[in-house]
Each structure stands twice: as C-alpha cells, then as structure tokens.
C-alpha cells in the first residue's frame, strides 16, 4: 500500500495546470481530493509520474446560484453541497445524495469535480448529474467545451474527457420538477451503492438515473418519459432493461436487479409524494 515515486506539482492557475498536462502527457494526472486517486496509487493500479494538484487554483472553487442555473466549481467539496443552504433549497436532491456518499471525512476533502470526472461506476454524483441534466465544462489546450453529463460516460474509467483536459465546472439547470429523491442501498457507511436511484418528477416531467448497476451511470430517457406520463411500471421496466449489473461481494446479478427495482420504486414513490 505504498505508491511508486512521483513528481508533485501545484500550479496556481488553470493555464499552468494545462501546460503541465501537455508537457507530461499520459504520465501526468490531476489530483483533486485524492480520495479515489490516492487509493489507486497505493495499490499501484494508477501508474503516473506527475501529480498535478488543483487545490491552489482559486477559479475552480465555489458555488454560484443564478435565477435558473447553478454553477459548481470542480474543486468544491462534497461537504459544501451539504452545507450550502441556498443550494439545498433550490436543488435539494444534491444534499440528499451527498449525505449518502462515503463518510464526513471523505466528504470534507473529496470534490464534486473529482467525483464526476473519476468515471468509477460506483460514484454517486454522475448518475445524479445525468438525472439533473447537468453540463460539464472541460478546459483544454484548445479552449473550453461543454459536454452533457448524459454524454460523458463511456465505460468504467473512460469518459469523454481528453487526457489534456481539466473539468472546471458543473452547471445544473434549476429543475422545474419539485419532486425529488435519491435512494441508495449500501452495506455500511462508506460503501458504494449496491443500487442507487435518482428521480426527479413533477409538472408532467420526470428524469430517472441509476448508479453502480452498469459500467457507467444509467440515465434512461424511456424510463423518464414513462414516469412523466405517470406510468411507474413502465418506468421501472425500462430502467431495469437499461442496467447491466455485475456480480461482486455485494451479491449476485439477480439480487442486484431485484434491489434496483425496489430502490427505484422507493425513490419514485418518495419523489411523487414530495411533488404532490
């Protein structure tokens, strides 16, 4: 559990960070809170010789709340999602989900940007961001571009982000739907989901995404449409159709599918109740 040697860089602005990334190519990685990356380094599963720490870059921090859009800097901690009252008032599902991530120690340091950029199917934020229709801003050598969360995840640890890009910001349209729920079954505090579901519903709209049930988060347009029409069974059927869980210590595939259904139904019921 001891990482191999590496160079540590701590740039003060995005431009320097980007140029370090360019210089060192795939030998380099950015580090945010380190709560996914450092374990991988200790297991010597992440092989890198340059670590670029983003914590001194001021522009990456903070939450801005406008009329119908919320912007979250990539280096905002998961804990800040919980403690920002205005944010919780506008998009309460963020706090509900953040409280189910890991434990307080991890959340004080782990960032929202790291959580969505990581690409681990176990992370809770990616499914949530898909449910909310969030957009990620990626800054690269050729400038910046926007990628929808729903288009970002390709496979486990593979995302639309290029090696030389940094995820700088997450923008979330303030949802018109007033019903929300994030439900997660886990074995203990600090565990990734056996199954988790993010549901938004209200005013004839709905959005449904699931976590840790495939090698990417699963947003299902079909399930969302069915739920928008009030067809719960149709929504559940579509969502279950879209997932592809794997067996692990949490249990066999049949169990995961079963739990996925139970959790999704609970999230729907709770969201519908809150919408009413």
């Amino acid at each position: 559990m001891i990482p191999a040697g590496f160079e540590y860089h701590r740039p003060a602005d995005i431009a320097s960070a980007l140029s370090l990334l360019q210089t060192h190519g795939d030998e380099a990685r950015v580090i945010a809170g380190g709560h996914s990356l450092i374990p991988m380094m200790k297991l010597r599963m992440a092989d890198l010789s340059h670590l670029i720490d983003l914590q001194d870059i001021d522009g990456l921090k903070g939450i801005t709340i406008a009329e119908d859009i919320v912007s979250i800097g990539a280096m905002t901690t998961q804990n800040e999602l919980i403690t920002n009252d205005e944010l919780s008032r506008r998009i309460p599902i963020l706090r509900e989900a953040a409280l189910l991530i890991a434990d307080p120690q991890v959340r004080y340091v782990g960032t929202v940007g790291g959580n969505v950029a990581n690409g681990d199917p176990g992370n809770d934020m990616p499914g949530l961001m898909q449910c909310l229709g969030a957009v990620y801003t990626l800054e690269g050598p050729d400038g910046s571009r926007a990628v929808a969360a729903r288009d970002f995840y390709e496979a486990a640890y593979f995302t639309a982000r290029e090696d030389e890009e940094i995820l700088t910001q997450i923008t979330i349209p303030v949802p018109s739907m007033s019903g929300y729920a994030y439900e997660k079954q886990k074995r203990k505090i600090g565990d990734y989901a056996t199954a988790a579901a993010a549901v938004m519903v209200g005013g004839g709209n709905a959005s449904v995404a699931m976590t840790n049930l495939s090698d990417t988060p699963i947003y299902s347009a079909e399930a969302s449409d069915a739920l928008a029409k009030g067809d719960v069974d149709g929504c559940v059927a579509a969502a279950l159709d879209a997932i592809d869980p794997q067996e692990d210590m949490r249990g066999p595939i049949a169990f995961k599918k079963h739990v996925a259904e139970v959790i999704l139904r609970r999230a729907i019921a709770k969201a519908q109740e809150r919408a009413a």
Binding site: A4, Q185, D191, Y192, R250, F255, H258, V259, I263
Partner: protein
Amino acid sequence: MKDELTQDQRSANLKGMGSSRKRVEDVRFTQGKGRYVDDIKLDGMLFGDFVRSPYAHARVTSINTEAAMAIPGVVAVLTAKDLEPLGLHWMPTLAGDKQMVLADGKVLFQGQEVAYVIANDRYAAADGVEAVEVEYEELPVIVNPFEALKSNVVLREDLEGQTEGAHGPRKHHNHIFTWEQGDKEGTEKVLEEADVVAEEMVYYHRTHPCPLETCGCVASMDKVTGKLTLYGTFQAPHAIRTVVSLISGIAEHNIRVVSPDIGGGFGNKVGAYAGYVCSVVASIVTGKPVKWVEDRMENLMTTAFARDYWMQGKIAATKEGKITGLWCHTTADHGGFDACADPTKFPAGFMNICTGSYDIPTAYLAVDGVYTNKAPGGVSYRCSFRVTEAAYFIERMIEVLAIELNMDAAELRRINFIKSDQFPYQSALGWEYDSGDYHRAWDQALNAVGYKELREEQAQRIEDFKAGKTRKLIGIGLTHFTEIVGAGPVKNCDILGLGMFDSCEIRIHPTGSAIARLGTISQGQGHATTFAQIIASEIGLPADDITLEEGDTDTAPYGLGTYGSRSTPVAGAATAMAARKIRAKAQMIAAYLLEVHDDDVEWDVDRFSVKGAPERFKTMKEIAFAAYNQAIPGLEPGLEAVSYYDPPNMTYPFGAYICVMEIDVDTGEHEIRSFYALDDCGTRINPMIIDGQVHGGCTEGYAIAMGQEIAYDEMGNCKSATLMDFFLPTAWETPTYTTDFAVTPSPHHPIGAKGVGESPNVGSVPCFSNAVHDAFRPFGLVQSHMPHDHWRIWKIAKDLGLHS
C-alpha cells in the same frame, strides 16, 4: 489513634474490586500518545517488505532479484535459498506442523511470502518488491475442504508419504488429523432409538480478527553484546522468546522480547509469522535494526484467519424435548499449513465444549483437519480455542431441534439446562464445569426483554405480512452460551510444550505504592486498570498508587500471554496469590510493630488492627515503610512476592443474550431493534470495563454474523482483502446494547473471577444468526449459512417464495 473514615469510605478510596474505576490507559490512547510497534524508531533502522504470490497454488520456477537490487535504497533480498543454510526457510507452527517462511519451490495460498526485500526506507522496500521477478507455473487450486479430501492434487508435497501427523494418522494426502472425543457407539445407539432426531450442516464461515493495528515487529541484533531485542505485536511475548531461542539457536538470556502497546489482538497476534523470522534474520545479516509492518491487505489475506468449520450435527431428543444425545462431525479447513493456535493436546481447540449449557448424557465429536489453498491460521478470534464454533453449533442445533419438535426454543433450552445443583458438572465430552446458574440467568433475561410480549408482537407482524400490510419481519434471536476459558491446567494444557500457567510479581515501595508485573499483555483489555484493582483489594493500597507493567521479557515474570480469556482466570489468580503472600508478611510486620502475636491482628480493608482493639492498627503504608527501614527480628527486609499460578481447572463463564431484529424481506437489510446481553463472569472486578468488553465483543459478533467474511473465488483469489469488502462496522452500524449481569463465582479461583473478554463474541454470533433464522422460521426456514449480509437474506426470502 482514631480514623475519621468509615470502613466503607476507606474501601472506596482504594478503588479496588467492584469499582468502575476509569481506565488508566485511556489518557494516552485517547490523546494519540500510545507507543505501538510502528512508533518505534531505532538508529539506522531498515525496512522489510514481502514479495507475495498472486497465485493460490503454483510452482515457483525462478526468482530474479537483480532489478530489485539495482533500486536505490534496496539493501538485500532474501529468498528461501538464503534462509536454507540457516535452517530457517521453514518454521514450526504452533499446531505441530511446519510452514514455509519463504516459498520453497511452491506456494500454497494467495499472498504467501515469496521474497523479503530489505531497504533503507519503506518506499524503497515497496519499489524493490515491485521489481523482483518471479516466475510461476500455476497448479490446480482447491478451496473446498471436501474436494481436497477427494482430490488427487497433493498440496503438501513435503509431507508426501507421511501417514502419521502431529495428531495421529493421516487418511489422505490433504488430510491433517482426526480428533475424536466422547462415545461414538453410545451416541449412534441413542440416535437410532430416539423419538426425534434433527440433523443439519452448520457452517461457520471463514473470517478474520482484523485488529486495528496490523502485525509487525522491529528486530535489533546488537552484534557487540550478542543480544537480540525483538519488539513486536505479540500476544505471548515470553512464548515468542522461547520459540525464537529454539528456532534460532540464540541463547534465551540473549533475547529480549518486548510487546509495547498493542492495538487489538483478538487472536491474530498469537501466531509466529514469516515477517518475524525474516526481520530477525535481516537484522543479524545487516547488523542493523529491521522493521516490518504489514498493511491492511496483507493482514486480511495472510495473517491468521479464524473459523472455517463445517459442522455436521445430529441431535436426539424425547418427544417432550429432553435431549438424549449429540453427534458432530466437523470438517475443518486449515488452509495451506496447520498453523492453528491451540493447546497441543487439542488440535480442534475446545470444540468439545459443544454440548453447551445443556445436560446431554451422550455425545460424540470428530474433527477432521484438512489442507486447502487458503491462508493458514485458524486462530481463536476473540474466543477460547474454537469455543465460538462450538457455541454456534449447539445454539443452532437447539433451534433446529425446536423446529423439529415444534416447540418454543426458549422453553426447549430451559428443559435441558444443566441445573445449578449439578455443578461441578461432568460433560459427556470430558469437561468439568465449575459453577453456573443457567435457569436464573435465563429467566432474568426473558423477563428483562418481555419475551412473551415480543412473541405476541411477532405473531401479529406475521399476520400483517401475510395480509400484505408490511414487508418487514421480526426475528427474536436467543442464545444461552457456556464458555470454557482460562487455559489452563499444566497437566493438560501446553503450547509447543510450554505449560499454560501464568504469573505476577508485586513489589511494594517503601512509601506504600507498588509496581506489579505480569506474564500477560494487554491489547486493549485494560489490564493496568483491573489488575491494580485486584491488588488494591488484597493488600489495601489504592489502585491509583499501583503501576502495572507487562510485555518486557527482561523484567516481567514468565507467562503464556493474553488470549483465550486467560488473563484474569490465570494471571489474575497469580496476582491475588502474590498479593496474599505480601499480606502474610505484612501481618507479621504489623504484629511486631503493635507488639502483639501474629494471630492477634486482623485484616481491616487497608490495615492490620489488634483484635478487639480496632483503634490500635498499622496501615499498609506504615507497614511498607517499616518493611524496608526497620530491623525486624526474623524477617528479611523488603516487601515483594511472586506467584506462578497453575489453575486447577478452567473457568466457565456463561450468558443469556436476546436480540430483536427487523428484516426487510425485499432488500435483505436489517435493523437491530434491541440487543440484551446478560453475562455471568463470576466476581466482577470492574463493571465498566466489563460493559466495554461486552460492547466490543458484541460488535465483532454482529459483524461476523451479519457480513464479515474472508471469501475466495475458485482460483483461490481472496475477494475480501480490503475494508471496503471486509465488513468492519462503524459507529453507525453498531447496535445499541443493554447489558445485565448475574454473579456465580468460580469456586476454584482465588477471587472467583471467570474472565469475560470473549464471552460477547461467543454469545452474540449465534444470537444474531438465530434472530435471522427466527424471522423466517414461520415460513419454513431451517438453516442458512452466515454471514447474513443483504443478498444472503434476500436469497432466503426468495427461496421461501416471499417475493412473489
């Protein structure tokens, strides 16, 4: 002279036995000021780290250390070839087997030690480990003990052709021993003739003690003095010294073993590990101190696991529920080497306590030990030598029998308890239970939880469930366990030939304070607190004025260490006996000072006073000063004593536990609504420490029953080597416990104490498990294996058709 304090006040000031004195250790532990092995830093210290096998069974065809040696900071790389000339490439195990220190031609489990890299710092050592090139030729893997006994694959080629093992004949090349106890024919006859026989396979899965601090050591060979100092996480430092001397040939007086603060042991730190041997060799070779500390994955994957017992049981009874016989055949999976830590004559530990709290006239037990491609160990995870397995077995069999008889399991237990007037009780499998009052404890427990009302609530819930009003069931888990601890009488208990007595040495200082040293070693149990209390009560000096020291073999008297709840039953007895020797001398001194005959003074809390004239007395403090500074005819100066205590019998703590659990049939999740634990550990030295021990042990039991396991896939890959998958409950998951007690002193122990550290682990595992089973009993569940994690509970419900 008149004393203003009453006897009670003087007694309270001592903070002796019965006082919930705060733990003196906690000041340093809660401030991060403990001194653990990894805190030890010696000048010029080097670090060792292991190359480990990724395969569970493979031939090692070559090891190339060239690239590793080229890494800056790497000093040396040891392989079996280097250890062979010293005869140290294999080491004896505590169970009479031998174990490879470094892979000698092949590996038998994933994570087995293959090479040992020595470097200037931890980082270089880890880089060195990465750079060692090992070529393997994979061999067929066996992870199932039943398959092992049928397979042509020979796991232990070194034993080929040996039909005799350390514990008798070997029936197959993957077989280790058969251990038989009790009356085979008699039991078979009872089974044949019984009204009712219930039969079940009860599996107690493989798990791990997982102490917060992993195993480690610092070996320091001083080439000038020829003295080896070995600091380590040892639960038995004196035994380690003797074993190191026997293995290495270094004279015992030239070895000093020190166990500093230990961050939990639970049996994991009883055994001898390759890391210790390699560090000692490395220090001898380099002439520098060498530190080795395993990481969490190494700890979970390679140092001593626990349990892994397949227990086939048959229990016979009359129609009315009186048990007439018990039969058990256990298949014990020991992994690649037999490294169990049991007294020599007990290759399956005290599994023969499996008749439990019940008066069972006839019984038979056979245990077959088997080699597989799993890590060795088989230590007693917070239990006295397989007592947990035994307790789980009998407490499950009772439940299975209750189903067969269609009886309430609480009532079935009551009918079969050994009665209080039957003690000392001779069990069918050879033990003499010292004392107990099971009926009283049982009634106290059932009343405390409102057992009748709970059953009514449960019946209502079942109706609601059937009517579709709820998806949650209630399980009521019952357990009455009897432990056997305090190993043990030297006549039948030894480890590697070392008798299992223990010791205490007390030295009173002239001003009336004291230091005591014991052969045991605390790993969190609070010895410095409780043993001072025993002395305080025995000799009348305040516990706060008594320093306790353990763990340094140069200063402490010889003892066999701390495990198997033996510290209080054995070293605690030695402490009382040594204190009594001091009091006997103090009596003579007091009589001299008071100018009366020895027999004319009597003991009074903290002093000797003249019989019939209590105003004439000498306090223990005064006596201590006189002992050193006054010439007393016929008496040597000084006031100290040592006692080596060979217990006449084991002690038999017991308890009644009841758990109420809510189970979500759909997700397999559970909630512990209440957990009641009544413990009878005889005389209670410190009730607060007992509560703490019960809380800790129950939490481990909860983990084991509800999720904790060391799991392997078919290739022998360990699937649970991190705390993500190995369930260690946080404060969040930990249930709230209600503790209670009864007191039935041990008749043969000087202060009547029986030991309590392990009772809660022994008792709570069947209690949690029985609650799960009980919830599904109305729907036809008879037996389902632990751990009862979400998916396994979901599977029970699914198989019973509760999901449609």
